[in-house]
């Protein structure tokens, strides 16, 4: 195990959803009592949190951003999301 990230099949938690804010021209992740502004890669990652494995997620990101080598920063971002309860492991009942 090289990754610190404990979730292998990330999926957005109930009540957490992606939203395009047309007033502010922003990608947002909205959830109970809060909101996180996403950059382009953040949006791409969040959209891939659909229960697929993190390996598949990384592979899909490479397709979206050819020539990039996403790894550590992706896990860091996923860690952040998990810490705030915004994603959980789709293979585990909660």
């Amino acid at each position: 195990m090289t990754q610190k990230f404990p979730i292998t099949y990330p999926v957005l938690a109930t009540g957490t959803r992606y939203r395009w804010d047309k007033v502010r021209n922003q990608h947002q992740l909205v959830f109970p009592e809060g909101m996180m502004v996403l950059n382009e890669p953040g949006r791409a990652i969040v959209k891939l949190c659909d229960g697929r494995s993190t390996d598949d997620l990384i592979a899909a990101l490479k397709e979206t951003y050819p020539g990039s080598e996403p790894s550590d920063d992706v896990f860091e971002f996923l860690d952040q999301l998990a810490e705030r309860g915004l994603i959980h492991d789709g293979s585990v009942d909660d």
Partner: protein
Amino acid sequence: MMDPLTTRPLALLAEVTYRCPLQCPYCSNPLELGRYRKELDTSTWVRVFREAAELGVVQLHLSGGEPLVRRDIMELVQEASRAGLYTNMSTGATVVDDRKLEQLREAGLDHLQVSLLDTEPESNDRLAGAASFDRKRQAVLGAKRLGFPVTLNVVLHRQNLDRIAEVIAIAQEWKVNRLELAHTQYTGWAFRNRAALMPTRKQLERAHEVVERARAAGTGGVDVLHVLPDYYFDQYPKACLQGWGMVSMSVAPDGFVLPCQTAREIPGLEFPNVSEYSLEQIWTGAPVFKRFRGTDWMPEPCRSCDKKEVDFGGCRCQAFLMTGDVNATDPVCQLSPQHHLVDEALKEAEQDAPPLHFRVMSS
């Protein structure tokens, strides 16, 4: 200086009715409830939700009173959701069953907040003025079954604070997503009942320890938010509303738009109504929204304070209720010339509590 045209509100509180089957003695609704019986009709609320979304509001909080007593509540939720708003509802959960919960889910409600007054059913029911513990429990369990994210809201005060460990335990047992432990804010009915609600310092210290210990041990998937009482813990006041007219606005049941839902208690302020103006006109142009926006209105010691853009002078309602002067520095601030009012309230809290006045609609 902020520009209200670029700084747009993120949150709208829609108090769709003041009617409520409960009588919580710390209700944030106005004391003279009987004066405000008029309620906006369905189509006006729907227009307000659409205007809110256009203006940049992200989070809508449907509240009251009890929002579920409105017959058109499903339509309101549906239209709010359709307008693109993240839709939260705060409910006492006494007039909801599984079928209604399902309808709320279908209508697009994103998040349900259920109030609980105490973990002891008798105490909960006594504080609420109605048998409600079992219904609340059923509603939480039912909402979780349907997949709602659920927040349990518990307002803390001297009559339930000693059971804070039980509150955390019940939140885990009911598997709620979030637990909001919010100490009573002394406005509205809570200000009237302050002497009966303020905890002793000893109670607070113990409760604080219990929460910290529970957090350290892990709260089993429950996100615990602890809002501390500002009379006791802060040298500076809370950044009420994150600044007046900066990120949020409230619409009262009768359509008056307030920078804060308790601002109605401040005499001399004139509030615009959604029947006459759009939310955008109100946000950018209404004098009451400009009144305490930014820092120009501030008296000393705020004016020359380096924290003035941190706490924005504190809570206007609290300043008025305690000092009689809406322009005063929030007396919670240690630099306030009237800080002794807070010390006096704290002293009072160490005495025996007087009886509670329960919320009633008549006036």
